[in-house]
Each structure stands twice: as C-alpha cells, then as structure tokens.
Symmetry: C2
Subunit: 433 residues, 2 copies
C-alpha cells in the first residue's frame, strides 16, 4: 500500500483540482493519448493470459535468455520493474533471464551481447510502435540474423514476438509476413505511459514475475486516484511539486534508499522530463540512490544552490534479513548497532537525511511503499502516471507530446545519408566547416 505525505497550500490544491477536472473530463491537450488511465481496470484477461502463455511456452522449450529490444518507453518500464524485483546478483531466477538491446547505438554493447547469447537458447521480444526507430530497428536486424542463423527461419519465428501497432508500420508488416506472434501497443497510449501494456507486461511475465499482481496494484491506485478528494495522492504530489517549482525549486530529485529502485528513477525521469520539459519550462528531474549518493551528491544537496527539492520513495519492509554482528573489541565503535537490522540503520539514515536536508533548505516529501513487489510497483507506476498528467496540466503544457525529440534525429539522418535529407546534410556540412 502506497501513501504520500505532501502538504501543498490550499491555493495549489485548488489549482490541482482544476487540472484534475481537465484530465478526468478528457478535454485537455493531448486527450487522444489517455488510454493509460484505464489500463489497470480494463486490460482484458486475454492479454495477460497471452503474455503468460508465451512465458510458459519458452520456459518449457528451455529458453535461457530473452533479448528485449526497445528504447525509451519501450525499455524503461520493464527495466525498472525487473531491476526492482530481481536478485542483485542474478540468482534465484523465477523465469527466463531478460537482457536488453536496441536502447543505444553502442557497437561494443551489441557485440558483447552477441558474445553472451551465442551459446545459449535465445528468444526475442521486439518492441516498437513503428518498427523504424533507429536503435531498436538496427538491433533487431542484428539479433534476427543471429537467431535465424542459429535456428533457421521457421524455428526463429516461434522465438520472436513483436509488440507493435495493431495494423500499421514496418514491424507489423514484417510480423505478418514472417508469422511472428504480436501484441498490440494501443493507439492512445504513449511510450512513457506504456508499462502496463504488453510493452511492460510481456517482458515482466517472461522474467517470471506476477503481472496480475502488478495490474491489481495499479487498479487499486487507479481507484484511489480517481477520487475528487483532497487526500488523492496524485493530486497532492502534483500540487506540491508545482508549488515548489513556482517558488524557484527547479530541480526535483527522486530519492530511494534501495539500490533496486535505481531504474525506477530512470523510468520516472522519462515520465516527468518528457511530459513537462517543453516551452522553456518544467522541473529538471534527477535521481539519486542513498546512502550511496549521500557520499557523492550529499554535499551539494545539503549546501549547494538552493534550487532543489526531493521526493523520497520510502520502502517500509526489506525482502531479506541481515543484522549487524557484534564485535567484542568494538574497534570501529559500532557496537551500538549490534544485532540491529541493516534496514533499520537504512531507515534511520533516511529520517536523519530528511531532517538534515529540510534544515539545509531542501524541502522533501515522501511516497511510502510497504515493500518492493509486483503489487506495490503497480501502485507506484500508476500513481506517478496519474500525478504526471495532473502536474503537466497545472504547468500549462501538453503532457502527452514530445516535439523536441525529433530535432537530433533529423540531424542524425542527414549525417547518415538517409534519402530525403540531402539539403539538410549539405547545410550541416557547411556549418561544421
């Protein structure tokens, strides 16, 4: 069960209600991309069953590694969930090992990925709405060649599943032609809001985690966040962060005290950065993992430019048990911790830091999570999505577009000699001279 402790002023709660009404009334900017709001309650059992069936089939077939190809919203949700749910050292797997590809253009990374999978039984999940995004498309060419070379075309087709558009696009066409099974990315769900579609569900199921519990958690938060109520956690978070932004706090740091939430921070950065960072506005999203980063970013946060606030994800129960051993000699002077749980020390570090940062002029609010499991992750995903819609409407921007993402791509295509970009290429060459 997830709770929040943000305390925005009445004025900002009112503003948040207004944005909430625009979102719930589905009459704001970008309102053709609101499909994510109903995913938890409305995802048909057939989709969930379909994901689980692929997971079972591949497990029975002896698949050892599933390569998940995707970038941005087609990468970060599954990556965040798997990092949160998996053993830190890859032990005690519940399902198939998942590795990612196509989320960068690194030659070394992809060559080393081929090293890794070459002796193993492999399956592939390729995720792309269009099938033409450079990074995943290039990676898929490489991985497809590898898998077809290993198994032949027919067997390879049974080991490749595509998550893509329902009717159009290169990946859909290819899937139909090659006989890949497909899952649909709904038209009204943008990439960064897609973790509860098969984009996230399929990789998470293949890795052996309970996607039904994930959706149940999200559905529970969907109900809570639909209430037009001043205790609505999405509303409170949206109100608080806009109030802080308007008061000059231009950087928000998402803080966690569990290293498994590192990639949850990356997912959150995309969600908020891409939804709000436009028209010269928006909070700059950063993330840290404490206590690790108290020994790196801690000094800055305590005493640097006073333009920061923090949102702390506080996990109440650890998944394992380990206590501090006693040392009769006590040379390190830590016997006052003997017999205490490490996580107790971690939580006291959290409370101590919260107070210290408050004293240093860094306001902070908290999102409390019972434990890290599928249900609670589902709650967290939906809470932050809903709050993001409200928050971006409060800021006055369209939460669901990303016009700035194209700028570098046009230059890149011109530099790479893509047909149709000849004039732009000439202009760039001129500029680089």
């Amino acid at each position: 069960m997830v709770n929040v402790n943000f305390k925005p002023s009445k004025e900002y709660v009112e503003k948040a209600f207004a944005a909430f009404d625009v979102l719930e009334g589905r009459k704001g900017r970008g309102n053709d991309f609101l499909g994510w709001m109903d995913l938890p309650s409305d995802t048909p059992a057939s989709i969930v069953d379909g994901c689980c069936a692929i997971a079972d089939e591949w497990r029975q077939k002896g698949v050892e590694v599933a390569v998940v190809i995707g970038i941005g919203g087609s990468y970060l949700g599954a990556k965040a969930a798997l990092a949160a749910l998996s053993h830190s050292f890859g032990m005690e797997r519940r399902g198939i090992e998942v590795v990612f590809a196509g989320f960068n253009l690194s030659e070394e990374y992809h060559a080393e990925l081929l090293d890794y999978i070459s002796g193993k039984s492999v399956a592939v999940i390729v995720i792309s709405k269009s099938g033409t995004t450079t990074e995943p498309a290039v990676a898929f060419r490489i991985i497809k060649e590898h898998v077809e070379g290993k198994y032949g075309k027919a067997e390879a087709a049974s080991r490749i599943v595509a998550v893509t558009d329902k009717a159009r696009g290169a990946l859909k066409s290819l899937s139909d032609q090659e006989g890949y099974r497909t899952f649909v990315i709904p038209d009204d769900v943008g990439g960064r809001f897609s973790v509860l579609t098969p984009v996230g569900l399929l990789p998470i199921a293949v890795a052996g985690y309970d996607i039904r519990a994930l959706l149940r958690g999200a559905a529970s938060m969907q109900r809570i966040c639909a209430e037009r109520d001043a205790r609505n956690p999405a509303l409170l978070y949206a109100a608080a962060r806009n109030e802080l932004y308007d008061s000059g706090k231009k950087v928000e740091i998402l803080v966690s005290y569990n290293p498994k939430l590192q990639y949850f921070g990356e997912w959150w950065k995309q969600l908020y950065g891409e939804s709000e960072g436009k028209e010269g506005r928006g909070i700059f999203p950063a993330s840290v993992n404490f206590t690790t980063d108290l020994h790196s970013m801690g000094q800055y946060i305590q005493e640097g430019e006073r333009m920061l606030f923090e949102t702390v994800i506080s996990v109440e129960h650890a998944g394992r048990e380990l206590t501090v051993c006693d040392d009769p000699q006590n040379l390190d002077g830590l016997n006052f911790l003997s017999g205490k749980h490490l996580e107790h020390c971690n939580r006291m570090a959290e409370t101590g830091t919260r107070l210290a940062h408050e004293d240093g002029g860094v306001p902070n609010g908290r999102v409390t999570v019972e434990r890290i499991d599928e249900f609670n992750l589902g709650e967290l995903f939906f809470l932050f999505e809903k709050a993001c819609g409200i928050s971006a409407y409060m800021l006055g921007v369209n939460p669901f577009d990303q016009p700035g993402v194209e700028a570098y791509k046009k230059n890149m295509f011109a530099l790479l000699g893509k047909p149709g970009y000849e004039a732009q290429a000439e202009a760039i060459r001129e500029r680089l001279r």
Copy 2:
C-alpha cells in the same frame, strides 16, 4: 590522447589563470589536500608492484571473487574504471571478478551478496581512512564474519587487505592486530581525488587491468595540465563552465555515448558536486548516457528550462566491430545504414545531437578520448581532477572540504542510539512528534 574544445572568453581565461596560479602555488584554501596533484608522477613503483603482487597471489590461489568494501571516493573511482574496462556481460575477465559492498545500507543487497559469494573462493579489499564510516564498517563486520567462518582466522587474514590511514584509526589498528596487509591512503589526498592511490589501484589491478598504463595516462595529463598555457585543457574546461554558470546555466550534464561510461559520470558527479556545492553555490552535476537517454531526458534538454549546458565525452574508437546487416526487403527503411558500423551511427547521433542542443539553447563542449582503455582513463581522471581544483577556486570555494556531509550523519547517529548523541536524539524525537 584526450582533447577538449571549450572556448571560454578571454575574461574567463584570465580568471582561470588566476585560479591556476593559486592551485599551482599551493596557497589556496584546502592546500593541505593537494597530494593528488603529484600522484601520477610520484607514485613509487613499490606501490604499483604491491598491488600487482596481491592480484597475482590471489589469482594463483584461485580466488574467484574479490569483495571491495568502500563508499564515496573509496568506491566510485574503481567502480567507474571497472565498468569502463569490463565486458558488458561479465565475460572474458582478465583477472578476478570484483563486486562491491559497503556503499549502501541495504539489507537485501548485502544478504544477496552473501548468497552470491557463499559458494565461491573469496578475498576482500576493505577501504576506509578511519575504519568507522558506518556503511563500510558494517559491511566489513558482515563480510569478515563470513570469510573467517569459511577459512578460519589465519587464512582469512591472508585474504583480507586493508587500504587505510598509515598510522591511525580503527581499520589500521585492526589490521595490525589481525595481520592484514595494508596500503596507505595518503593524508593529503581526499576521498574524491583518491582513484590513483591504492584506493583505486588495488581493485583495478585485482580485476586484471593495467594500472601502470592508467598512471602513465594520468602522468601525461599531469604534464599537459601543469603548463601555464591558454591551451591547457583543465584551464579551458574550468573557465568555460564558470562562464556558463555565471550566465545562468546552473546544471551541467556530463554526456557519454558509451554505456560503459555510466559510472564515470557518477565519479564525476561526486568530484564536482562535493568540491563545488557549498556556500549556496555551485553547478548541479547530472549525467546521461546517450542515445539511451535521448529517449527520456532528450525532450527536456531540447526544450525545457534553459538553465543547462552539456559536457560531452566523445570516444573516437570502439573496442569491437559490428555492422548493420542489409535487408533486401528494407521494410524498416534502414538500408541506407547497411554495412555501416554501429559506432559510426552512434557518432553521427552525437554530432546531430550536439547541433540540435546548441540550436535549442544548450551550449555544449567536448572532451575527446581516443578509446576507452587504461591510459585514456588515466588521462580523463586527472584532467577532471585538475580542472576541478581550478574551477572551484574560480567559484571562490574550498575544493577540498565537504562540511555538509556530516549533517545527516549526526541525525542518523542520534536516531540509532549512538552513545554521546542522547540530547540530539531527544530533540529529534520531539521534532518528529
């Protein structure tokens, strides 16, 4: 060979020269912590040989995993170097596998670390100036118990090496008593400047990498950066970033296009954040890995609040070869890339992004590196250290202290019942009511 392309104004170059003179003259604030300036040239062969001897001995003994215990500057340098130099999937190891501990207080992490090492032949490097920093001291109690339980006290002592103060402190006392071999953290080198002491050298050597080449690279950069010359790259970087800061660019993003440099970004964030983030001042350091994060932070960087600038680490040559396969059907429309190296696409993405961000109001400078290897990493480490000293003096702060790091610790100790903190504990309990 590392190069930079920063173009600060004459005024800021002059200011940088003034700060350079203070640093070189060793008369600025914190000048009892300048030992790092001479490490590349003055590190005696005996230290390097000593690190390599431990590596050889443990390899011959069949050690499979070395647990490196440390936090902050006693963690990030080695972590950055090993992430940069190692195979993405842990294959083709040159030396012993290194895992880290004591850089957080997560109960799950440390319990899972014990799962991982329990069936393996283990050695330990424990790094702490005092031996009383909570995270590494707690982890060392746990790992020491494990290793002594496994091998008995005598054999355990041959598998534990401490990197600590030359004469004082809990870890030094314990080492003398138990017969651990030790390496010295010099008195005049602070944690975040310590990667070229045994703090970094020993773990890097144990992992099988060439620390002589690392020091040679650093020594080459030491010579270059000692020149009182307007082409000095450390001076140019320090001048450029202060000029940008004074013009309102309060966030610096360190950009890399190679996923192996992710933790180099973390090392850099500590170096700059902890050196400059004080007295209500300093650039907020953030880092991204492109093209991955172009699909998450890209929108914000292109069009969000105009308070950003970027420093790009540009790697000229990839360590592996992989080209884009041709596809006669060309459904994805990417045949204009057929036969091209992935890294070529990556570099065009880099150039395209540089121009797009410039057009979007995000100035960017570049640090060019020939390839990722020990020599170039040595150059990079020293370049950023030297520039940091100059830059912080330009900003007007002491680069070598970190007064703000203690604030949370005092609260934490009070909350954990540390003897001597009773009054503070009562005050905190009152405040939390």
